[in-house]
């Protein structure tokens, strides 16, 4: 696809967006506790 080798395509079109999704999900789960604490403070 797009004239690039499979592995290059995997890195650009799958791995790269996955990193962003992972950072979004991590942010939402990792700080739940802090958020609750800050609200109740």
């Amino acid at each position: 696809m797009f004239g690039i080798p499979i592995f290059t395509g995997f890195m650009v079109f799958i791995f790269w967006p996955l990193v962003l999704v992972a950072s979004l999900l991590w942010g939402h789960f990792a700080f739940k506790h802090e958020e609750e604490n800050e609200w109740t403070r």
């Binding site: 797009f2 990193v19 962003l20 942010g27 990792a30 700080f31 802090e34």
Partner: protein, 503 residues
Amino acid sequence: MDKMIILIIGILYLIVILVIGIWSSRKQKDMSTFYIGGRSFGPWLVALAISSTTMSGYGFVGLPAIAYENGYIIIMLGIFATAGIFVSFLVLAKPLRKISEKFGSLTISDLLETRYNSKAVRVVTALAILGGAIGYQMAQYKALGNMLQTVLGVRYEVALFIGVAILTVYVVAGGMISAVWTDFIQMIIMVAGSLIVFFGGLRLVGGFSQMNRELTQINPDLTQAFHTNGGSMTIFIFLSYFLLYMIGQQAQPHVVTKFYMIRKLSMLKWAAFIAALTYGLTVLLWFSGPFTRILVERGEMAAPASADLVVPTFITTYFHPVIAGLLFAAVMAAIMSTSEAFLLLASSSVVRDIYQQVIKKGKELPPKKELSLSRWVTLATVALTFLLSLNPPDLVGWLGNASWGLFVASLLPAVSIGIWWKRATRQAALVSTILGFSLSLILYILKVKGIYTPQLDTGAIAFIISTLSFVIVSYLTKNEKSELFSHEDPRIQADKLVIENKQ
């Protein structure tokens, strides 16, 4: 006329940045605001400060130049660095922010002194940071000189002098508050500029698929994630980039000190995503390397005199002067935002970690004296780096890569492993820092001189050895309690009590 318009827009941009610098310097009261902005910033400011500091002149000018010569392997580096931003949040964001609040750490060396209870660790890491900062700064200055040289049409040395003079005025005036505010604006300009270059370039070469077809025709290695047809960037370099940029991102002291600055821990929730996304978007500018390569091969564009002139030549040749002016501002932004972080880093290493600890034997300096001393040290660092940059030994990209590797090899074990691993000892921190620093420097010099070129990147070799030495020495030496682990999280303590009561 075209160059005039580019220049006017560039100057307007610099004036805006200077005004912000001066405005924010009025808010600056003490060292805490000078270095970490008084822990008062929200997620957007911190995230964009992290991504704009990571994306430097080395990234904006140096890496497209290497992509011009080597193709997609450099885009892989960008992908790993995007992932590296996330990994550094994962490993360091929470503990660093908490430690900074609890122990008042302002710099990485402050943190390491608390962790290992050792002034020696503090001084040694500060020296490593200073050495790396000067190398990295040279890459920024060369990029700045190359950029202004193209736009102003003057000699490299003159261009370098003008650029460095402007840069220095507002870093010395403003400190970190101005750096964070200007980082924020600069990153927005950088993202916009990268998108314009990427989509504009795609139109020029006839689309993504067409670009890849032509690159493969020129050399099949150019579209490979690593070279398999005789090119020099083999799978070993690919793996080196994984180690240095995805794992090693967290050892970049100019980036991680930004974790200290956030107002509330929960604000980090969005910061990782915003930082990774904005950084990833700016990586698109690196495609200007492959674009230029194709246009040169087609005979539509003259080959740039030096690979480091790829971005400035591409921008000034193909974009409307107004757009070119904005793009020029974006590249300047990349250079300035990283340079200012490095200047602050160098001055904090010298003043807080070396002068105050070694010469003043740990005695606190009056805040005003510390502030003025920091400014003088910043000026001295600028002068030294300026002289070194007049005749740099290598392309911007390789200089930046070597300094990045130097930070990873000398700091990552002591900082990232040390924060999480209670068994780590001060002797291990000292050995790994000294070994990582000297090895990465020696191997890089051997490579530049053409004496020895290893298959792995020189920084990656030094990093592997320094990590192994850190683990081995930790097991061989006596473990001591660290303040850092002395107070457990109250939630864990509460859980333990519940378990004990049940028993």
